[in-house]
């Protein structure tokens, strides 16, 4: 693996030749003013990222990195940053030392290994790290493209309905119990009489009062549901009587056989039926 074979010149024409040497190793980026260099360096996530950039930029095989060239380029950036008094993370300097070390080891004959296998390439660890980092770098880009809640889609939901403020449930049983409790107390206290009226009568009483809301007059017949059977008619009639008895209703008839009008018992009786 000759360093020459992997010289960036292979893949990139030299910008110029100085004393016969190709001048491709100094990237154009280096000639930008220091504040631009700062921006440039900030785009890298660290030395590995910068190294990958240099390698990919020159289309070099990661598995056979031209160490001398790579080290030279890398150091050029670090030096440019240093002379521009840019703050450079310590990791960059550490990497510089590592590159120089690898480069020098490349120049030495490799010691044969005990198991007679291929001698260890001094670049192995660096390559491993570069590839691992590149894999993660790409994975991060892919992850960023993965549909993400709040950006690419939203959770869909409905408001909890009015009833959803967890209203207490009431079962018939609860009502019965409550009523029994009242009855029980009433018996205990003795001084209470529970008048018994058919419940259906009570229902009609409420219904009739609703019909007569807002001081409305109705003809007596109108109080009876047209679909009612005999039993219901009787119950309805009882309700009218009960309402009259409780002074909740006013029943009036101008003359015998004239229409009977029903009205709620209210003080403002100035309105007359037609």
């Amino acid at each position: 693996m000759s360093e020459a074979a992997l010289d960036p010149v292979q893949t990139e024409l030299p910008i110029a030749r100085v004393r016969g040497e190709p001048l491709a190793e100094l990237p154009a980026d280096l000639y930008i003013p220091p504040d631009a260099l700062e921006v440039f360096l900030e785009t890298f996530e660290g030395p590995l990222d910068l190294l990958l950039y240099l390698i990919r930029r020159h289309n070099v095989d990661v598995l056979d990195i031209p160490m001398a060239e790579l080290t030279r380029q890398y150091l050029a950036y670090v030096e440019a940053a240093r002379t521009s008094r840019l703050e450079l993370a310590a990791e960059y300097l550490l990497m510089a030392a590592m590159l120089i070390e690898i480069k020098s080891r490349m120049l030495l004959p490799r010691p044969p290994r005990a198991d007679a296998a291929e001698p260890e390439d001094p670049r192995a660890e660096l390559v491993r790290r570069l590839l691992e980092y590149e894999q993660i770098k790409l994975a991060a880009q892919t992850l960023d493209k993965q549909p993400r809640i709040g950006r690419d889609f939203e959770p869909a939901g409905a408001w909890l309905g009015a009833a959803a403020q967890a209203l207490p449930e009431v079962q018939l049983r609860d009502l019965a119990d409550a009523w029994l409790a009242i009855l029980g107390r009433a018996r205990l206290n003795k001084h209470h009489r529970m008048p018994r009226t058919e419940l259906s009568v009570r229902e009609h009483m409420a219904r009739i009062l609703r019909l007569l809301q807002e001081g409305r007059y109705l003809e007596f017949q109108e109080l009876f549901p047209s679909s009612a059977g005999v039993a219901e008619l009787v119950v309805c009639f009882l309700a009218v009587l009960e309402l009259a008895r409780e002074s909740l209703l006013r029943v009036s008839q101008d003359a015998p056989l004239a229409p009977i009008y029903v009205k709620r018992h209210e003080s403002d009786e100035h309105r007359q039926p037609e």
């Binding site: 309905g161 079962q171 409550a178 409790a181 009855l183 209470h192 003080s267």
Partner: protein, 223 residues
């Protein structure tokens, strides 16, 4: 072709539906119009929303218009399921609320005075308000006596919420009377584990009263 331009009503409804389901709260027509690049008249939006509302009929969620806009919300009928999903024990009404409700149900129409007479204690206005807010009790008139007290009755909603067709389907009083052993009233009730609990607890003004509900195992809202 603009991605936020709309060509037809069905597309409009699709976007409105997604927008309303993704939104955090009610959205006004103005909010909703913002989704589209082109100008959509309020009329157009309203028509689409009305259609959408129709599309959701019969589902467990409905599109409703509330004071500050439109939103999807779960229907009341879903509540028992949702309560179990959220794993909340449903709150319970206080004894005062339940007794008041029972009196209104069985003795309607009644005034607050009637309720106080029957219960033997004064009735906190909050108790009646709790029942009115629930839509179970309403004022259907006023009794022509001094002070013209409101006459209270149960509503249709009360019947339907308790799965009744009419009041006659309430447990009959006679049976209840028979079930009441003479000495039950003195027995400390088992069903009274949380006399103060529940929403209407404001009205539990009778903590001193002996709990008199007969055994009635597991009365009410199980978890």
């Amino acid at each position: 072709m603009n991605p936020t331009n709309i060509d037809n009503l069905s597309e409009l409804k699709t976007v409105l539906e997604a927008g309303l389901l993704a939104a955090d709260g009610p959205q006004t027509l103005k909010d909703l119009a913002r989704m589209f690049e082109q100008e959509l008249s309020a009329d157009m939006l309203r028509r689409a929303l009305e259609e959408l509302r129709g599309d959701w009929e019969g589902r467990g969620v409905e599109l409703v218009q509330v004071a500050d806009g439109w939103r999807f919300q779960t229907r009341a009928q879903m509540q028992p399921y949702l309560a179990r999903l959220k794993n909340e024990r449903p709150p319970r009404y206080s004894r005062a609320v339940l007794e008041t409700l029972a009196i209104v149900a069985y003795r309607q129409p009644v005034t607050r005075g009637d309720i106080e007479d029957i219960r033997g204690v004064s009735v906190n206005a909050q108790i009646i308000k709790t029942l009115e807010d629930r839509g179970w009790v309403e004022t259907i008139g006023h009794k022509e006596v001094p002070g013209r007290p409101a006459l209270l009755a149960t509503t249709k909603k009360f019947l339907s919420d308790l799965n009744l067709r009419n009041l006659a389907e309430l447990p009959p009083l006679e049976d209840l009377g028979n079930m009441l052993a003479p000495d039950t009233a003195a027995t400390p009730g088992a069903a009274d584990e949380d006399p103060e609990g529940g929403i209407g607890a404001a009205g539990s003004e009778d903590p001193a009263l002996p709990a008199s509900a007969p055994a009635a195992a597991g009365a009410g809202g199980q978890g």
